[in-house]
Amino acid sequence: MKDEGKKQIWKDYQKDIADDHYYYVRSCIRQSFFPASEEFFLRLLKDDLGKDVFDDPNHTTCTGIGYHSDIVSFETIMTVVARHFSMMKESGYKNIIISCVTSFGIYTEIIETWKHFPEVLAKTRENLFKATGREFDIPENMAHASDIIYKFKDEIAQKAKYRLVNPITGKPLNIVEHIGCHYSKMFPKYGVGGAEFPEVLAGMIDAWGGKVIDYPERRHCCGFGFRQYLVQANRGYSIANSKKKFDSMEPYKPDLILANCPGCTMFMDKWQYTISEMEGKTYGENQQGIPVLTYEELAGLVMGYNPWDLGLQYHQIQSEPLLHKLGIEFSIEDKYKTRDGRQMPIPECPANINY
């Protein structure tokens, strides 16, 4: 793998990312499965980087999961997204940050459709007005939340307490990244680094001292497939796709999977458990699984946030071995405590994963 070749490609896909004054839209999956990631992200922007970001309580789901499982029509989702734009306008913002890759993909698809078919834009304006009396502007700048972290990766590196390096061996951690199909496969120009060798996560890993590992099935889908996971009968498809990725990355001995999309993060974490139950096969060193982190969690870790405030204990694959490798200090007693310090029950240990 020649890095110069990738860097050459990255030059062609540097998108414009706004510097401040953001309107934030949350993700159904990220807030449900990784709520601390969203909270950390906002805290990082506001407290650590001093940015203005508005977390509007009035926006709803974009209906993306419904759209991609075909129970929500294109007309409906365009109007829901237009409503978000309308609320953004109302709040006086022009730069949007989207916390979910599925949503991000939908926003790009809608904006591109409006560009090519102005009559569809006009119809959406009409629909939104008819339904809510609202009007909207298209955002001046649109970023996925990881684009923002990418933009400030060097500031984060400067403030960092830890690097993605094993302090005992002095070696960088081997990190595989997973971008999530809808980030840029539809429209490469919307993704930092394009669709084939995206830079958005690789750039963070580089800046924080880790080593990016490119494995053959890096670009492959995690397997969510919307209806393919939502319906129990189809889940064999979802798990088969994740398994294909694990088998492909295994020889590279990754210390960590860094994921862009909340759905992918969840599936790649949970499917390792399910595969261990179904096939007795556990990936990762010492049958401990390969930790799967969101980019917010990784940023929080290097900045020295408490891993249990970041929510790492609520991943199926536990991260203590990773924390040890990074030389991160943590309190094991604090792991399953409530905010006010009460001890919570300890989750059950799976049969085939070593904790």
Binding site: A36, G66, N127, G225, Y237, H315, Q316, T338
Partner: protein, 236 residues
Amino acid sequence: MGKLYDLLLQDIRFEEGLNACMNCGVCTAICPAAEFYKYDPREIVDTIQTKDEEKTEALLKSETIWYCGQCMSCKTRCPRGNTPALVIMALRTLSQKLGYFTDSEKGRQQFAIKRTVGENILKYGYCVPTYAVDPKMHPEQGPIWEHIFNNIDDVMDRLGGNLKKKGSGALREIHQKNLDELDKIFEVTGGYKLYGEIENYSEKKAGEMGLEFKKEGIDNEYFRHVYTCNSDNHGK
């Protein structure tokens, strides 16, 4: 020219997704569904571009159109700028409008999705909130998930969420005025119409299959059937 083809053309995604196909196979080569199902997006696009009425109808009634996982990898690669996945979405939409989806095992599953994600959207304002992912329906989520589900208030609180409370924050309660606007959007844009079509055709199918059907919820035979039935005939 087929009537069905004309109906498909009314879908903007169909117009966007289908130019002339040269049968090169880059879409199938990269397609996760082609790898794990008896599925070939190239053949679907090729069939559609014949505009043959009978073949199109057969597709709308088939298992095939439900195999795609909508990862959109085909869009990145097609040398003719086609997007088979968008063509598939148009086919699925039409299949539901015409009631053809209940002819196939995979198509019938739309009912289960409508009753879960579909209802969540309008009830909570989220597609998939934590409290709606019941470990009983999701054993694959594992013990940590069960733990979160059972201790959701404490977990959300510790992680900075704002579970079912007013104001902003993760998993906040979506204010009724916002749900009302969502409701209006569904009304104006045909969202409810589509839901209604899924419901009506499913109810009819449940009758034909002799399975119990209820107007609401997931506690009925037809739901359980479509949610779990796998004839295991979708692979090689």
